[in-house]
């Protein structure tokens, strides 16, 4: 149908006495296969149905233009930070012909796009991999943790990890558990509007992340827009943060805790936090990957849970209310205890603490050895259980570690203003 014509070629489509001339464009994944897309000389794209058309190739595609940016010059007084790339686009370049967005990740490219970064720090970049955050696995967490530790033990004053937002809180909390003796800041950052658009939140988030990477905070945190306005970013503790909206810039919220701070012109930290200090950071990347996150809901089948008991070493339940499950799940839970599968209770309400001594179902669950997850987010409990089971599989030890706050994931006091 298209004959010799390739994407980027100048073509003419002749059909029913009409002719359309322009550049042949790649087909959208959402499109059908009866049309071709051409970019007209006025810049607009149109789709032309070609089942009864003749396509002429007028000229081959022009070579794409590429340029190298000069190496940026940094002031030697600024601290050095490392930006690790894992996916998503912080800086990107559009091919206005095809509409393809090409990520840029060299320091030169990033500084070209966000020159203000050079006022904050000397920037070094390293692209670890480039995957969509939904494809992130525990293997990737380990790799990121090891790289971060390496950078922190090297010259980096702080590390910024650029990450897709969908599963950012999983990776961030994994690092919070894995990085032992953390003495410097580790900042996760992403964007909810891609960086090819003028309204992107990427630049503001990245600048704020760089500022936090130079601050006194020695924790793993997520830095993203604090509100819909492009004014300030919030600093969220990795083990208390959750993406609460599918599309808004301020999708990330601290749950059962207040943000650790705010970034405007400067970084403002409030409350108690771990401070920058000296010492070697160590990445304990042991993980028991056979852990399931199991959501409880009316009508949930016991078969599903039985399956998990067969296959997994640990199960995090997302129970109803204070931490309950319907009766039909109790036999599977009892079997889990017998077979040495650790079961941790969290709540579907996300906000609030589980308390299984208030109602009879809860008390039965406690008697069956279910470990209360306190006010941990279900996803955080899931990551933590992997980490803990990677260290020990002895029930009492697992129970002890799960009940103790290892990286700020459990708060001792339930603050009144942490629910809004």
């Amino acid at each position: 149908m298209l004959g010799e014509a390739r994407v980027g070629d100048r073509i003419r489509v002749l059909k029913g006495g009409r002719s359309y001339e322009g550049i042949l464009m790649p087909r959208s994944e959402l499109g059908d296969d009866r049309h071709v897309v051409i970019k007209l000389d006025n810049g607009y794209n149109i789709g032309v149905e070609v089942s009864n058309a003749r396509v002429e190739r007028l000229a081959p595609a022009e070579e794409p233009y590429s340029r190298a940016f000069p190496e940026p010059e940094f002031s030697p007084e600024k601290p050095e930070i490392t930006i690790l790339g894992t996916g998503g686009t912080i800086a990107s370049k559009i091919d206005y012909k095809t509409g393809a967005v090409h990520p840029s990740f060299t320091a030169a490219e990033i500084i070209n796009a966000v020159p203000e970064l050079a006022d904050v720090a000397r920037v070094k970049t390293k692209l670890l991999f480039n995957i969509l955050s939904e494809n992130m696995t525990p293997e990737h967490w380990k790799k990121i943790a090891s790289e971060v530790a390496k950078e922190l033990n090297g010259d980096a004053y702080g590390v910024v990890v650029a990450h897709g937002t969908d599963t950012m809180s999983f990776t961030a909390s994994a690092l919070a558990f894995m990085l032992k003796n953390l003495t410097k800041p580790v900042i996760f950052v992403g964007s909810q509007r891609s960086s090819d658009r003028p309204s992107s939140d990427a630049a503001l988030n990245l600048i704020a992340a760089a500022k936090v990477a130079c601050s006194e905070l020695a924790e793993v945190v997520v830095v993203m827009h604090a509100q819909s306005s492009d004014t300030t970013c919030a600093i969220h503790r990795a083990t208390k943060v959750r993406k609460m909206h599918s599309s808004r810039r301020d999708a990330f919220k601290s749950i059962n805790a207040l943000p650790l701070g705010e970034v405007g012109e400067d970084v403002r930290l409030f409350g108690s936090y771990r401070r920058r200090s000296e010492g070697e950071v160590y990445a304990d990347t042991r993980l028991e990957e056979r852990v399931a996150l199991f959501k409880v809901y009316p009508g949930v089948s016991e078969e599903l849970l039985e399956y998990c008991v067969d296959r997994y070493k640990g199960i995090v339940l997302e129970g109803t209310g204070l931490g309950h499950v319907p009766e039909n799940l109790l036999p599977a839970i009892e079997r889990a205890r017998e077979e040495g599968v650790a079961v941790v209770m969290t709540t579907t309400t996300l906000y609030g603490r589980v308390d299984m001594k208030v109602y009879s179902t809860g008390r039965r669950l406690l008697n069956l050895g279910v470990i209360p997850g306190e006010d941990m987010l279900p996803e955080v409990a899931y990551v933590k259980l992997m980490h803990v089971l990677g260290i020990t599989q002895n029930y009492e030890e697992v129970r002890g570690l799960m009940l103790r706050s290892l990286a700020g994931e459990i708060t001792e006091r339930s603050l009144a203003d942490a629910f809004y």
Binding site: G43, V48, P198
Partner: protein
Amino acid sequence: MEGLRVGFEIHQQLATRKLFCNCESELREEEPELKILRRLRPTQSELGEIDRAALEEYLKGRCYEYEVPGDVSCLVEMDEEPPHNVNIDAVKAALEVALLLNAQPVDEIHFMRKIVIDGSNTSGFQRTAVIAMDGYVKTAKGKVRIPTICLEEEAARKIREEGSKTVYRLDRLGIPLIEISTSPDITSPEEAREVALKIGEILRATGKVKRGIGTIRQDINVSIAGGARVEIKGVQDLNLIPKIIEKEAERQRKLIEIAQELKRRGVEEVHLEFSPVDVSEIFASTESKLVAKVMKRGGVVLAVKLPGFRGLIGGAKEEPRLGSELAQYARIKAGVGGIFHSDELPSYGISASEVEAVADKLSLSEIDAFVLVAEEREKALKALQAVLERAKLALKGVPEETRVAQSDATTRYMRPLPGAARMYPETDLAPFVVDEKLIAELRASLPELYEEKIARFLKQYNLSQELATQVVKSERAQLFEELVASGASPKLVATTLVSTLRELRREGYAVENIKDERFREMFALVAEQKLAKEAIPEVIKALSRTPERSCEEILAELGLKGFSEADVRGLVRRVIKERAEFVRERGEGAVKPLMGVLMKELRGRVEGRVVMKILEEELRGYLKDGFQG
């Protein structure tokens, strides 16, 4: 006119919901509570470069405040949610217009992102798509081609500027907009008016476009032989179009003449160097109040030489003149109120000796001119720079630019003509396939054009030519047909919807606020004889004040309700009885005086002929055998 070329770019809002979300396309006048503050960062071009001037602006803190009226805007307008699927009603309405303009719909619609970083779009781009190509309209002089018809989103509404912050309201953002671009095939000012009228009529014939101020905008592109394309925005009154074009052609002719004369005098760009001279001391004791005031505030008077320009800048009154162009550049680019130039001096209190002193200081020759600016130094320098920039353009003739129309049909400089916009595909939307079935459906139900409709109204409803034309062109043509179909008198409905409404509007009643539903109620009441047609204007007046209340409620309030036939009959009998002697004396001749008495009570509530009929019946009966019982 020799070599005149005119084309249009017409933007018309559609009367559907918004293009990419389900919000209503309505504006809100009250300031909403929710406001968000945003920045728009210039993005990399195809070559990976960033517009340095735009980035500079950004880094200086340029920002945008968006007011979010929550009932007519949502996360989509806030750029906090991807666009929903394109509004099918808007696509259909746009395709309908395209077919009426003889254009060929594209097989598949692809929305593009057109980069716009003046803040008028929260995303930093406008979504726009070509929906049809190769249309035309016919005029008395021939065809005017319409190469493309686009469907796009309307921009946010600018409320005000506050220093480096621009405030926009999101109510208008996302309203579907159809853009019709003609080729520059129009060759006379009158033909231009005809084209604008014709396209306007076609748009309105669909019944799917918004009406009222700001819902249609026509930009006129004008050039003459040897001139350049100038885009004129802000044309509100179609009747002004020929005048605007004539004046623009005249302006271009004058600029070409000036360029030729400058060439003859041997003036070149290198002669126009920016070397402003401070001439404040010459004006130390000036009579010019304006200059004295500026100096008192600590301002300065700066002068710049325009070699070879003498006599070409123009005296005070003769338009078009280069002087206005220089002044407009200075105003737009430096924000100064005005400039003085040597062709118009001495004047404005500036004396001949002061002019001479300036000329001396600048060592002007016979053919040189100068421009003065009295302002604070920074601003004055910027203004003179702008003047010089514009003077350089005068060497070449007519600069391509965007101008804005004034109410006297003159135009003012607004900005340079925008370059080709950067566009890339809107990947958040799937392509929209325009299948043959949809086009066939639209073709089968295309609306009548005005001429056809007027002809039909004449025949079908027996209206006068004038009334038929007015009804067809009014916003309520559809309502008219609906009301007549339900049994109302065509003449009465037409008169009400056209003449009565027009008169009341002139008297200052906000009749445009009255929804069609109220007219349906009104004519239903007329049909049930609960409302006399004489009372219609009173009811409309009341409705315009409280359009949310039903006709029934209005009637009750005005006391226009409750006169059934039986009530009238009762009143008639009472009146006859009370005047029994008079009635017997006059016999049937009493009808007229009794009508007078009755109508005093019933005027506006019951139609005169109904009262008359009952009165005649009752009178006849009474005279025959008195009232029974």
